[in-house]
């Protein structure tokens, strides 16, 4: 299925990645017809594909801990990589070391340490405010890389005393005003139950919470679940459903996703072997440690950082970067694209290490001049580097 993207393409031909008209996105119906339109297929004479519009997003639902959105005009690979990045590589803050000062409860030390590790802690702004401990040169627990929480409970009376997450008290300074606070959502303000104490039993611990990713331990996962679906009517035949009598009757379909797709993906439409998936349905549910939009944005950043490391590893920009007109065009696009999310939006100013800031990605000089910019005559604004510096500084 070869596609010229859609009418917008003509309109925006001169501005590869500049801002789009907002109005069509007020209504999801505007996209119904293009739900199935794949990406790619459109190339200019240099062989690069045009993709003048880039990925499209429609947010269908947003609540405190959950965001439901549809991704369009992008590849299955990119959508799936975003899903994987959000699941496993977005940094959050969790208790990682527990010093048991006294434990006369019925639970063994390890049991309690494990429970403490699983308590969700507010992680807003841990990226970029907080450093990974292994990248901090303090050699211990400093206020840039660790949050210390203490718990001291003793049951003095007859009956059972409940020890809750709210009893964890932050001591010492911390990277910002959010990081490390237990997430408490129940009406009574207790938070998760840690242990129960009988008369005379006591629990005193000192915990160190640090930044980490779920690839190291699942407790750092920012998400409780990430729903991901494409081609709900199985038009592409990527799935071969098992069935008793009739697959259609026996397998559930999410009508919201199924109806999103246009006519040619309806379950009874003819099979098109060249079709590519065009709409990806995400349902991101957070644990409460990060706002759902932050999970998505940080997932995007994780991917960008990976790519930046590859560019740096290959020495991109240092050799013949700017000899190539395509490269220039794309660099321009990166600059234009980057300016909004990382700059004015104020959401993630220092994603790639603003001036003088420590980056959490190891030894690159913040806003370093080497990585991208080589002989580039133009400066691409501030997205990745300090203002006024020539180049990207991944």
């Amino acid at each position: 299925m070869t596609i010229s993207l859609h009418s917008d393409e003509e309109h925006f031909a001169d501005y590869p990645v500049i801002i789009h008209n907002i109005s069509p996105r007020f209504s999801p119906h505007a996209y119904l017809t293009m739900a199935y339109i794949g990406f790619g297929g459109a190339y200019n004479e240099d062989g690069m594909d045009i993709e003048a519009t880039g990925p499209k997003v429609t947010v269908r639902e947003a609540t405190q801990d959950h965001v439901d959105f549809v991704l369009q005009s992008t590849s299955l690979s990119l959508a799936n990589s975003l899903r994987r990045a959000m699941l496993a590589e977005v940094p959050t803050v969790c208790i990682d070391q527990v010093q048991i000062l006294s434990n006369t409860s019925v639970l063994p030390d390890e049991f309690i340490a494990h429970r403490l590790g699983l308590i969700p802690l507010d992680s807003r702004g841990c990226e970029p405010d907080m450093l990974f401990q292994r990248e901090c040169d303090c050699g211990g627990d400093c206020e840039r890389c660790a949050v210390i929480l203490e718990l001291a409970c003793k049951c003095e009376r007859e009956g059972t005393m409940m020890v809750f997450a709210r009893d964890l008290i932050i001591v010492d300074a911390r990277p910002n005003e959010y990081v490390g606070q237990p997430v408490i959502r129940d009406p009574k303000g207790n938070g998760p139950l840690i242990a129960k104490l009988r008369r005379g039993q006591e629990l005193r611990v000192r915990c160190t919470a640090i930044k980490g990713i779920a690839k190291e331990h699942a407790k750092w996962a920012p998400t409780a679940a990430v729903g991901f679906e494409y081609d709900p009517n199985n038009k592409l035949r990527h799935v071969d459903y098992w069935y008793e009598e009739n697959a259609k009757d026996e397998w559930p379909v999410d009508p919201r996703n199924a109806n999103w797709e246009s006519e040619d993906t309806a379950a009874d439409a003819a099979f098109d072997p060249d079709a590519t998936p065009g709409a990806f349905f995400f349902d991101v549910e957070g644990v409460g440690t990060l706002d759902p939009d932050q999970i998505v944005q940080e997932g995007i950043k994780v991917l960008q950082n990976k790519l930046a490391l590859v560019i740096q590893g290959l020495g991109g920009g240092s050799d013949n970067d700017n000899n190539n007109t395509n490269t220039n065009a794309t660099n321009g696009a990166v600059g234009a694209g980057g300016a909004t999310p990382f700059g004015a939006g104020g959401v993630q100013d220092q994603a790639y290490g603003g001036a003088g800031d420590h980056t959490s990605y190891g030894g690159y000089p913040a806003g370093g001049a080497t990585a991208y910019g080589g002989g580039g005559a133009t400066s691409y604004g501030t997205p990745y580097g300090a203002p006024g510096q020539n180049g990207y500084g991944y």
Binding site: V17, I19, H20, R25, F26, Y43, G47, M48, D49, T53, G54, P55, V57, T58, V59, A62, V67, F69, T74, S75, L76, S77, L78, N80, S81, L82, R84, A85, A88, R134, K215, E216, H217, D293, V296, Q297, I300, K301, L303, Q304, K306, L307, V310, I311, Q312, G313, L314, G316, N324, T327, T330, N331, V334, G337, G338, T340, P341, G345, V347, P383
Partner: protein
């Protein structure tokens, strides 16, 4: 006591280890094999798909040689109008720019949705 690998070995480069190692595939013209260390399908599949969108790339595929080792190999062949390395760099840059667009679009859409929600709460 055991030979269980440390979990951080899945994503932290060892001392002196490089992120990407490039080897020329001498059996074919314009072909390179890139070995990525401490990376997985998240990056491998992303780059593979992106490279295939470039018409000058005649072959792009990746494999994870062994599930216990956090590496993947990406093999790239071009038609000769650019080197596999240039193609890969281009793919990376294009993906970064795509993700920029995605981030911006998401911010916009999310704010919009939140405004709608607030409007509803206030009975507008």
């Amino acid at each position: 006591m055991t030979n269980k690998p440390e979990p951080f070995e899945q994503f932290l480069l060892a001392e002196g280890e490089k992120k990407v190692e490039m080897t020329l595939d001498t059996r074919m013209p314009n072909t390179c094999i890139f070995k990525f260390n401490k990376e997985d399908h998240t990056l491998g599949n992303l780059l593979r798909a992106r490279l295939l969108q470039d018409r000058r790339v005649t072959f792009a595929a990746y494999k994870v040689p062994h599930p216990l080792f956090p590496t993947f190999e990406l093999r790239v062949q071009t038609d000769g109008s650019l080197s596999p390395k240039e193609a890969l760099l281009q793919a990376c840059r294009d993906s970064v720019s795509d993700l920029n667009t995605l981030s911006r679009e998401f911010t916009k859409e999310y704010e919009l949705r939140k405004m709608v929600n607030e409007g509803r709460e206030n009975g507008i």
